[in-house]
């Protein structure tokens, strides 16, 4: 949940620092966030943010590759990183005594990664292996196709891992250029949640990062996606027996006033999933009281259905992802899903369902605050979107959502002309 004890400070070099004490355990979680993701990439360099993330585990001026991981693990810590469309981030969660070591690691990562030439080619093949792993997943393959069909010009259309041709041709100079441009204090946020004294922690952060010069970087302009003017369809054929259907509709950005009613609508359609990409999307299966579950799974058309409205800086997509039941025509699955969606436009959503969706969302937001790692993630994620205030206001935004709001956004965003329908059609063996 949005916090009342959080402290936000900007250092002279532009670094944003967020401190959120929580003394439930001896742990601290430190996240370093950069305002750069695949939404900032151009054709020819797709996947570069994610590749740079990988390279930034491979050694700095003062820390060898082994030392970078060892520094966290000596404290029993956990570390990782991820890249998505608006952000690149690094996390470590460890005992409170690790704070100075973790700050050293992140300050080195911000300013002194070495990009050893010998590390480039092995990492290229590691990332291509990661891409191949995602290509093994039919749902992921379909998502890539549907996204690139629904988004014609906005860079959100590129998969975060990048297109294979770009991964095969990017150079060390490309990677270093991207790193030097975006890894700077005025493009970053450091979040520390957990067993800290905020004054003491701020002093340590300033000591670790204060001397790093700002870069004056500005995010590149992103082309606005033009309005979609009719349903789009895309098919992928793969060996196998199981079919998948995915529906995508253009949806509002997180800070937009329509996001809260869309979140309620998503919960009505597919069950509330929450807003924490670090934890919520891993945990929850299909929700059986949702409209789409009843229309698809309870009727034996599908074995699973999930919705996703993810918080993003620019307008992105609302997804409905369906695993078709064995032997069912994919068109029938798509039609049943579309009919359930269209019913929210024509018939609206009664007050009782809106209230239930709001209760679900409230509970999910409480559950998302069950650890210092998750608490710190949320603060950094929304600060990086430039929408921390909108996140803090979300409970009030949700409380204000009326059935009329939900019907209005259903008509505005989920109408058929705003829809892309994707089909993964199973075929014979290769």
């Amino acid at each position: 949940m949005p916090s009342t004890v959080r402290r936000l400070v900007e250092l002279d070099n532009g670094l944003t620092v967020i401190l959120q004490p929580s003394h439930a355990s001896s742990l601290i979680s430190l996240w370093a966030w950069y305002r750069v993701g695949s939404g900032d990439e151009r054709p020819g360099q797709t996947g570069i943010s994610h590749w740079v993330e990988h390279m930034n585990f491979k050694g700095t001026a003062r820390l060898s590759r082994e030392a970078m991981t060892g520094i966290v693990e000596r404290h029993g810590g956990f570390w990782n990183g991820y890249t998505w469309i608006d952000q690149t981030t690094y996390v470590s969660t460890a005992h409170r005594d690790a704070l100075d070591d973790l700050l050293l690691l992140e300050s080195e990562r911000m300013s002194a990664c070495t990009y050893d030439a010998a590390e480039i080619e092995p990492e290229r093949t590691v990332i291509i292996s990661e891409l191949q792993g995602s290509e093994n997943d039919p749902d992921q393959v379909l998502e890539t196709e549907v996204t690139a069909t629904a988004m014609k010009v906005h860079p959100y259309r590129h998969p975060t891992i990048g297109w294979r041709g770009d991964l095969e041709t990017m150079t060390r100079e490309d990677l270093v250029g991207h790193y030097e441009r975006y890894y700077a204090p005025d493009n970053a946020t450091i979040v520390i949640a957990g067993d800290i004294d905020p004054d003491d922690a701020l002093t340590r952060v300033a000591r670790a990062f204060g001397a790093i010069a700002p870069s004056g970087v500005k995010a590149p302009a992103r082309t606005t996606e033009p309005e979609q003017q009719g349903e789009r369809r895309v098919s992928v054929e793969r060996p196998g027996h199981v079919g998948y259907v995915k529906l995508a509709h253009h949806a509002p950005a997180f800070a937009h006033a329509d996001f809260a009613p869309m979140l309620v609508l998503d919960a009505v359609l597919a069950g509330a999933r929450g807003l924490n990409l670090w934890c919520s999307y891993k945990a929850l299966g299909s929700q059986r009281s949702s409209r789409l579950y009843r229309a698809l799974v309870d009727t034996s058309l599908a074995s699973a259905v999930q919705g996703a409205l993810m918080p993003t800086r620019d307008a992105f997509l609302h997804y409905v992802s369906i695993t078709a039941a064995d032997g069912v025509a994919l068109e029938a699955v798509q039609e049943a899903a579309a009919a359930a969606i269209d019913a929210t436009i024509t018939g609206g959503v009664p007050e009782e369902e809106v209230q239930r969706a709001r209760r679900q969302l409230h509970a999910r937001m409480v559950f998302e605050g069950d650890s210092v790692t998750n608490i710190a993630h949320q603060a950094g994620y929304f600060q990086t979107l430039g929408a921390l205030d909108a996140y803090d206001a979300l409970p009030a935004r949700l409380a204000a959502v009326t059935p009329d709001d939900v019907r209005r956004v259903a008509g505005l965003y989920l109408h058929p002309a705003n829809r892309t329908s994707g089909f993964l059609r199973p075929g014979g063996g290769a």
């Binding site: 439930a24 355990s25 001896s26 742990l27 590759r65 060892g70 693990e73 029993g76 810590g77 956990f78 969660t93 460890a94 005992h95 005594d97 092995p122 093949t125 590691v126 990332i127 291509i128 292996s129 990661e130 191949q132 792993g133 290509e135 093994n136 039919p138 793969r238 060996p239 196998g240 027996h241 199981v242 509330a272 929850l284 929700q287 059986r288 009281s289 949702s290 799974v297 309870d298 034996s300 074995s303 695993t323 078709a324 039941a325 064995d326 239930r356 209760r359 679900q360 409230h362 509970a363 999910r364 409480v366 559950f367 605050g369 069950d370 650890s371 790692t373 998750n374 063996g429 290769a430």
Partner: protein, 423 residues
């Protein structure tokens, strides 16, 4: 003793043993106004009748689909309407209810979960829906290289007929043949209070939490004699066993490679834990990750895991690689296994691993769900109420020689190996 662990004294724990044989443990955590609880029954797929592989998993899929008081839809409304979740899962050992709810809803949800466990209705219409759904999941597994490699690995490691050998989700033929009577009989035999270990963690008073669950379980008695929970010891493979499974249309091959390790209560357990951390966990996947990912750039993931059960559990190496690199990757795994078996674990590696494992104990307990799982495991294996406090000492006591002795048991000429991917 690690000073980090010493700085974090064990938190209070309330433990209750009911006359029915059920055990309840509870711990308060007030970080957020929510509660997670787990009801774990010794009723996993290892107890599937040999002719009905998948029965435990199917029982788990059906057990939350109605009680005498609630239809399946009404249950979903009751749970999801509060924003809560009660998920039922199964693995080889356990059938487990895992619930998360707001603190205000705890008593209602624990009462509902206990009722679902005690008196599932198994309505026939739901049975056909879930059967259809399960068959689709089996078809998905058949197209999943990771699932195929893992299933074959367990089949060959434990050997035909061993309760750990078959895939927990069962087979198409078995799922098609299951009847409601099978579910009723399995539930009556295995989902019983004497086989229940429950943990409650969150923003709730421990005594109140135990009282609520004890009340919800009150009156649940099963007169039939309890079936055996004993599992036969597996026989380690005498020779290297290699399977190659063709999965068409895939970009990547999955490798599962490994051996039988010790059981959870084996004195060598902690030495294996430290050894496995060196082999395939520390840093970017231990020695395996360093070789396969970092030096050779062949895989996004390459690591080993060690999953001890009441019987010997697997030491399992996993890697996902370009199909063209399968042989090179297997050679690299063989090399690292042979090297650690012959040369052992260095003192520096042992020190890093032990320090890491001790320091990571608070993270195991970071979330309510993590703590609940930890407490259930402690109870199921009888590790003792003071286990959390003793664990740093148990790890510190592992010497480099102990970890090396664990490694010496690994022999590539006796490895079980399954590769699934495009031919």
């Amino acid at each position: 003793m690690n000073p980090l662990a010493a700085a974090s004294p064990q938190k209070r724990l309330t433990r209750r043993r009911l006359p029915s044989g059920a055990t309840i443990v509870a711990r308060r955590n007030g970080i957020t106004p929510a509660v997670t609880f787990m009801l774990a029954f010794d009723a996993g797929s290892a107890f599937d009748p040999p002719s009905r592989p998948g029965l435990a998993a199917f029982t788990a899929r059906m057990i939350d689909r109605g009680t005498p008081e609630y239809t399946a839809d009404a249950l979903a409304e009751e749970i999801e309407g509060r924003g809560a979740s009660i998920e039922v899962t199964s693995n080889r050992q356990c059938l487990t209810f895992t619930a998360t709810c707001l603190d205000d809803d705890f008593e209602a949800m624990v009462s509902l979960a206990a009722r679902m466990a005690q008196a599932p209705a198994f309505p026939p219409d739901q049975l056909e829906l879930r059967r259809h759904e399960t068959l689709t999941r089996l078809a998905q597994d058949a197209e999943n290289t990771g699932a195929r490699a893992s299933a074959r690995f367990f089949e060959r490691l434990y050997g035909d007929g061993h309760p750990y050998a078959h895939p927990p989700r069962g087979t198409q033929a078995a799922i098609e043949a299951l009847t409601r009577d099978d579910l009723v009989a399995y539930h009556r035999a295995r989902v019983r209070p004497a086989f229940l270990t429950a943990a409650i963690v969150g923003d709730v008073d421990e005594e109140r939490a135990c009282d609520a669950l004890a009340r919800a379980l009150d009156g649940w008695t099963v007169d039939d004699e309890a079936p055996s929970r004993a599992l036969p010891a597996p026989v380690p493979p005498a020779v290297r066993d290699v399977s190659v499974i063709d999965v068409a249309g895939k970009s990547q091959s999955d490798i599962a490679y490994g051996f039988l390790g010790p059981g959870r209560l084996d004195p060598a357990y902690y030495a294996y834990w430290v050894m496995n951390t060196v082999l395939g966990q520390f840093g970017m996947g231990g020695r395996l990750g360093e070789n396969i990912r970092e030096r050779q750039g062949m895989a996004y993931y390459a690591y080993s895991s060690f999953d001890a059960a009441r019987i010997p559990g697997p030491v399992l190496v996993r890697a996902g690689v370009d199909p063209a690199n399968v042989d090179r990757t297997i050679a690299a795994i063989d090399h690292e296994i042979a090297r650690i078996a012959a040369d052992g674990v260095t003192q520096a590696e042992r020190d890093d691993a032990v320090r890491y494992l001790i320091g990571s104990i608070p993270r195991l307990l970071e979330t309510n769900a993590g703590t609940a799982q930890f407490l259930v495991t402690v109870e199921q294996f009888g590790l003792g109420e003071d286990f959390e406090a003793r664990l740093p000492g148990l790890l510190s006591a592992v010497t480099a020689e102990d970890a090396s002795a664990a490694a010496a048991a690994l022999d590539p000429s006796k490895a079980v190996l399954a590769v699934a991917g495009p031919s």
